[in-house]
Amino acid sequence: MKHLSIAPLGALVLALAAVSPALAQQKSVAVTAIVEHPALDAVRDGVQAALKDAGFEAGKNLKWQYQSAQGNTGTAAQIARKFIGDQPDAIVAIATPSAQAVVAATKAVPVVFSAVTDPVAAKLLASWEPGKGNVTGVSDLLALDKQMQLLRQVVPNAKRVGIVYNPGEANSMVVVKQLQKLLPTLGLTLVEAAAPRSVDVGSAARSLVGKVDVIYTNTDNNVVSAYEALVKVGQDAKIPMVAADTDSVKRGAVAAYGINYRDLGEQTGRMVARILNGEKPGNIKPEVSTKLELFVNPGAAQRQGVKLPDALLKAAAQIVE
């Protein structure tokens, strides 16, 4: 052995020594997400806003920290350990992989998950009933039956429903499996097209042309990030697009009866506030999104070859021009 270089280690020790000051009597919340993207960021901001409304203001009487794993599960694991070591009053974990990393690493620190579609399948919870554990949260499970009603209002003669999704996304697979069960009971059939990367979304949509009467999209990260590619196909082939998130309507979907992720975050934040005020997470019933909004886009409808019924226009929370 020649020599052990101690210089980098020295720099490291210095960095580690600078522990952030811990303030007594102050509540603390640590938030982590697997990746940064607009919907998940909206959840985070919603949590912060709701906590402020409940009297916990970041920087004043609340120690707030946020870490993103930048899409890397190894980093997610390490963030989980850092947070548990900091012993905050609650950890908010956004999306399935982050939530699993935190829940696997602690049985003591309260954990509130958010934007997890199926927390029971992800084994974050044993059931949807309040349990004994340290975990509760808010799911972004879609009210699929209501969305299918909307789809039938937009395209009354629809028989075949296309869906573009990423088979590598847990949240999307939950939706596809539910649709496979739900659609036959409504006299509809599901036609699937897989898009493992966001650049595949356009070609997956083109593969549906001639096979479907309408294309439905859930909140799949790949699809949402490349929604324009889908809209182009819809316009060229006159296939209407119905989405599950309201932002996609602004980008060219005909209609969406969807979750507003900011509201989902606020709902999560109110749950966190209850824990900060002394409630046990195990006593709080896990929730699904309560606030769904209808957005319609008559211009997109015209371009995609359908006319929206007046009833739908009247019921809409927002009409995108």
Binding site: M1, K2, L4, S5, A7, P8, L9, A11, L12, A15, L16, A18, V19, S20, I34, E36, Q65, Y66, Q67, S68, Q70, G71, N72, T73, G74, T75, A77, Q78, I79, A80, R81, K82, I84, G85, D86, Q87, T96, P97, Q100, A101, V103, A104, A105, A121, A122, K123, L124, P167, G168, E169, A170, M173, P196
Partner: protein, 296 residues
């Protein structure tokens, strides 16, 4: 930095040191640029998670995961040696194919393992908290892997693998079957990576299809950091350096996660990590320069 976060860095560093040992074999000993690891790491995780959640003994599941990783390595080697596909391309082909294979094995993008028995719950001594037990168990496993590797690469067959990597033509002239050595080396390399994947899912609450992304970058960074901390040509020191590199790399991440006090935000994490690793790489050179300036 808290004790929990410190032990967490060691724990995850030790897991990734198995990946780094695998990468060391392919990149350094075999000189085979191998991106298979981005697929064989989640492959090991997928096999292990599915077996454990269907009730298989965790030891057996971990062993199967190691074998699956080795098989992936053999496939890459075979594409290269027998079908004469360029090494880098062969590994990329196997890596992207494994994405689909992993989805098939897992039957979906995510297999949770939160309340199942794992190697770690089986081996955890009574009364010892899990966050202490896990790094200790991992240290033992990694030590065993390191010693086995030291031994293997000093046997005749191991030396033949190293000869194949440093000068294939010469090795063939000495009667070494270089094709078989590439296959064997790739099997050992990806077997270690598959083992790493299996241990990762058992500490992380489950396997996720996204867990492979960037594995090769982490592995390479660990090898390079290790080599700059402890430069040596001897295999015994080199493997120690690689393990050390993987753990130190995780300390860099932990430091980056704890760097909010200087105004850094979550989106700067990758940048901070890159800068810290770059500093670690440059410092030994600076020290050499300073040392040379001293009067002899």
């Amino acid at each position: 930095m808290s004790l929990f976060s410190l032990l967490g860095a060691i724990e995850i560093g030790l897991i990734f040191s198995l990946v780094a040992l695998g990468v060391f074999i392919s990149f350094r000993l075999l000189r085979f640029p191998d991106l298979t690891v981005d697929g064989s790491f989640p492959l090991g995780g997928a096999v292990c998670a599915v077996l454990i959640s269907s009730g298989t003994n965790p030891w057996l599941a971990t062993l199967a995961a190691t074998a699956a990783g080795a098989a992936a390595g053999v496939l890459t080697g075979w594409l290269n040696v027998k079908l004469r596909i360029m090494d880098l391309l062969a590994s990329i082909l196997v890596m992207i194919a494994l994405y689909s294979v992993n989805l098939r094995i897992m039957g979906g993008p995510n297999v949770p393992l939160i309340n199942d028995a794992t190697l770690f719950t089986l081996l955890q001594p009574e009364g010892m908290p899990d966050y202490v037990a896990r790094p200790l168990i991992l240290a033992a496993i990694v030590l065993l892997a390191k010693l086995a590797m030291d031994w293997f690469f000093s046997t005749e067959r191991g030396l033949a693998i190293r000869a194949t990597g440093s000068n294939a033509r010469m090795a063939r002239a000495q009667g070494v079957n270089t094709g078989a050595m590439v296959l064997l080396g790739m099997a050992v390399s990806n077997g270690l990576v598959g083992l790493g994947g299996a241990l990762f899912v058992q500490t992380q609450g489950g396997a996720d299809i996204s867990m492979g992304i960037g594995t090769i970058v982490i592995g390479l960074a660990a090898v390079i950091v290790g080599e700059s901390l402890l430069p040596s040509r001897r295999i015994v020191h080199a493997t120690l350096a690689v393990v050390l590199g993987a753990v130190v790399y995780r300390f860099f991440i932990a430091a980056a996660l704890n760097s909010e006090f200087i105004g850094l935000k979550a989106q700067d994490l990758n940048l901070v990590t890159a800068v810290l690793v770059a500093v670690a790489l440059v410092l030994p050179q600076l020290k050499n320069k300073l040392a040379r300036r001293k009067p002899r």
